[in-house]
């Protein structure tokens, strides 16, 4: 039963991931004052890249890099329950808890960092270093918020967190914690003030510089699924988890639209500015939120 | 501007443009004097005109004053073949790039400016291209080949001749009838 559950979750994550990616391009197109591509355009892009005739590789480590990253994304999807109280769509979340998921989110990018490092392109490793430097301050407000949620729920298991939010979701109980987490959530999703990792004008498309053909396709697919997993995590932690599929779509969509619109009106901080910013206001929000727990 | 007039024989070309001819020996001292004593403190352009029939280049230092409302052209004639002029990088740092361009385009040497590597052309073996004896059309014929005309269309001039003849004969036929 668990296998069917996992397969269904992966299918949902893949579908919703590309749907939201297409929606992102459409919504930001409307902000720009144009129509934008069809909703499935990102899916077409990834299939086209999969069926290209050539993809350059730089040895077996470069080949393994994106695979580890995709594995990290898939594991994230599997270890976060989609539905809060039901028994379907739980995946493997019973045998793991929130702290494991937090650190799984970093496993994929570190695996990819090995792959990108092995191709010898300076732009790739500069993108990775920017990601890791930004990670130092990006995790701080998110951890503060997550610690608050765990202490409030009394355990790190998702079921306990859903229990704690059964009457009132964390967004209302701990608004400050939600704000701190949302700011660093913008960074995880690579939205504008913090999208410093692959900035094309600065680092020549960062880590994805040497990815061609099927490797770039794998990168796109895993980033679609990974962003859906992050949306899911935010819903489970702060919006009381999803009662059923419809509720899931609604809540992730609301979070997603907020992130998109915020992202399209901000200029990009430099790496050091984003670290300094994240260490000031969001961390303060988190600490005050914890104090008021 | 007036005290400069007596000091040098300056011709006024337009209300805001003056010209001054100096010999190559006094060039650097004049520029030095203008740079520090007068208010012509900026070198905004370094021009070179090739008078091939008179066998000489004409170097022009375009100086602009502090208020940027008046330009003074300091010009001097130099020989055409492997001539070197004292570089003015010490007076005007921005001259470094201008001299590099003239060195590559005209072959004029500037001793004192050590960055005279290539400015716009890469691996250029031929004559400096802006000299008048360099014929660009001949270079194009020898290095590049053009797209040969479309085989389905005849030469345009012939077509025009045929049409004219047809029109004339048609008019005569119409006149005759």
């Amino acid at each position: 039963m668990v296998l069917i559950d996992c397969f269904l979750m992966l299918l949902l994550a893949y579908g919703f991931g590309f749907l939201y990616y297409g929606l992102y391009r459409n919504l930001s197109a409307r902000v720009h004052g144009r129509f934008g591509p069809s909703l499935a355009q990102s899916f077409f892009d990834s299939v086209k890249l999969f069926v290209k005739e050539q993809s350059t590789t730089f040895g077996w480590m470069f080949y393994a890099g994106p695979i580890i990253m995709a594995t990290g994304a898939v594991l994230n999807v599997l270890f976060i329950p989609f539905i809060n109280h039901g028994d379907s769509l739980q995946g493997l979340s019973s045998s793991a808890n929130l702290i494991v998921v937090l650190y799984l989110m970093v496993l994929g990018p570190l695996g990819n960092a090995l792959g990108v490092g092995s191709n010898g392109n300076p732009f790739g490793v500069m993108g990775i270093t920017r990601g890791l430097t930004r990670l130092i301050a990006l995790e701080l407000p998110f951890y503060l918020a997550v610690i608050g949620v765990m202490i409030d729920a009394g355990s790190a298991d998702f079921s306990a967190i859903f229990e704690a939010q059964s009457q009132e979701m964390n967004l209302l109980k701990h608004p400050l914690l939600f704000m701190a987490a949302f700011i660093s959530f913008l960074g995880f999703m690579g939205k504008s003030p913090f999208d410093v990792v692959g900035a094309p004008q600065e680092v020549y498309s960062g880590p994805a510089t040497e990815f061609s053909g099927k490797f770039f396709a794998l990168l796109l697919s895993q980033s679609a699924m990974f962003s859906f997993a992050k949306l899911l995590l935010m819903v489970n932690l702060f919006l009381g988890g999803a009662d059923d599929l419809g509720d899931l779509v609604l809540k992730t969509f609301v979070l997603f639209v907020a992130a998109t619109f915020i992202g399209s009106v901000y200029a990009r901080f430099s790496t050091i500015q984003s670290v300094e910013f994240l260490m000031r206001i969001p961390t303060l929000l988190g600490i005050v939120g914890l104090a008021l727990l | 501007m007036q005290n400069l007039m007596q000091h040098f024989e300056i011709i006024q070309k337009t209300p805001t443009l003056y010209a001054l001819h100096v010999s190559i020996e006094t060039l650097f001292n004049t520029l030095h004097h203008l740079r520090y004593q007068s208010d012509f403190i900026t070198l905004s352009q370094l021009t070179c005109t090739d008078w091939i029939e008179e066998e000489r280049f004409e170097l022009g230092y375009m100086l602009t004053n502090l208020e940027r409302n008046c330009n003074l052209m300091v010009k001097c004639f130099i020989g055409r073949d492997d001539v070197t002029v004292a570089s003015v990088v010490t007076l005007f740092p921005q001259a470094e790039v201008m001299e590099r361009e003239l060195h590559e385009m005209f072959g004029v040497g500037f001793e004192g400016n050590d960055t005279l590597y290539d400015f716009a052309l890469e691996d250029w073996q031929d004559l400096p291209p802006m000299r008048r004896e360099f014929d660009t059309l001949a270079y194009v014929q020898s290095h590049y080949d053009f797209r040969d005309g479309r085989d389905d269309n005849l030469d345009v001039k012939e077509q025009i001749k045929i049409r004219k003849a047809a029109a004339k004969s048609a008019k005569e036929a119409q006149g005759g009838a």
Partner: protein, 203 residues
């Protein structure tokens, strides 16, 4: 036999019918995906690059056709040579083209790529882009308008859907020696590392 544009259009349609019947459904699907998602390399080589911002932004918005600008040649499918090409630029253009992964296409903008255009007598521009790189689609005009550029992309999409064997990258791969000879004749020996072995294992 009639010549001119209509003839070319009929021959295109008839070829399309003949090819459609021979190709399997999978190949047609692959060609459909390749046509509906084109990544253009962000490289403004000549003065035509000034008409690319209006085409890629909100007024003419080519993203509706699935065309997106990408930063590196590895991710790109289409290289736009926008206007005249000096040997120094041509060296970089060839380098970028050879780093793109198959199937890749070239769009030549403006008359300068067709016959040297306004700089026919300039010592530093190439007169015929076709000698050095296989051009799939020419868009004429001394800087073609955004509408002409979009028309060029639509025509290219039709050509990609045909999945025809005489596409640019196949031509480049098959007679690579011819193109290489032209390049070396123009640049002398300092050409970017040759990709001879690159194609050895392919066909």
């Amino acid at each position: 036999m009639e010549e001119g544009f209509n003839a070319y259009r009929q021959s295109l349609e008839s070829e399309e019918q003949s090819i459609k019947s021979t190709q399997s459904v999978v190949e047609q699907a692959i060609a459909w995906f390749r046509a509906h998602s084109m990544f253009v390399l962000a490289y403004g080589t000549g003065c035509g690059a000034i008409e690319m911002p209006p085409t890629f932004t909100s007024r003419y918005d080519i993203e509706r056709l699935g065309v997106v600008g990408v930063a590196t040649p590895r991710q790109a499918d289409i290289l736009i040579v926008s206007g005249y090409c000096s040997p120094k630029t041509l060296k970089r253009v060839i380098r970028s083209y050879e780093q793109m992964s198959d199937p890749k296409y070239i769009i030549g903008l403006g008359s300068c790529t067709i016959n040297g255009g306004m700089y026919w007598d300039s010592y530093n521009t190439i007169k015929k882009l076709d000698d050095f790189l296989p051009v799939d689609m020419y868009v004429n005009g001394c800087m073609p308008r955004p509408e002409a550029l979009i028309e060029g992309f639509v025509k290219l999409q039709e050509k990609i859907r045909l999945n025809s064997s005489e596409a640019g990258y196949i031509k480049y791969r098959d007679n690579y020696a011819h193109y290489r000879a032209n390049q070396e004749r123009l640049f002398g020996a300092q050409v970017a590392p040759s990709y001879e072995e690159n194609f050895a294992g392919m066909n």
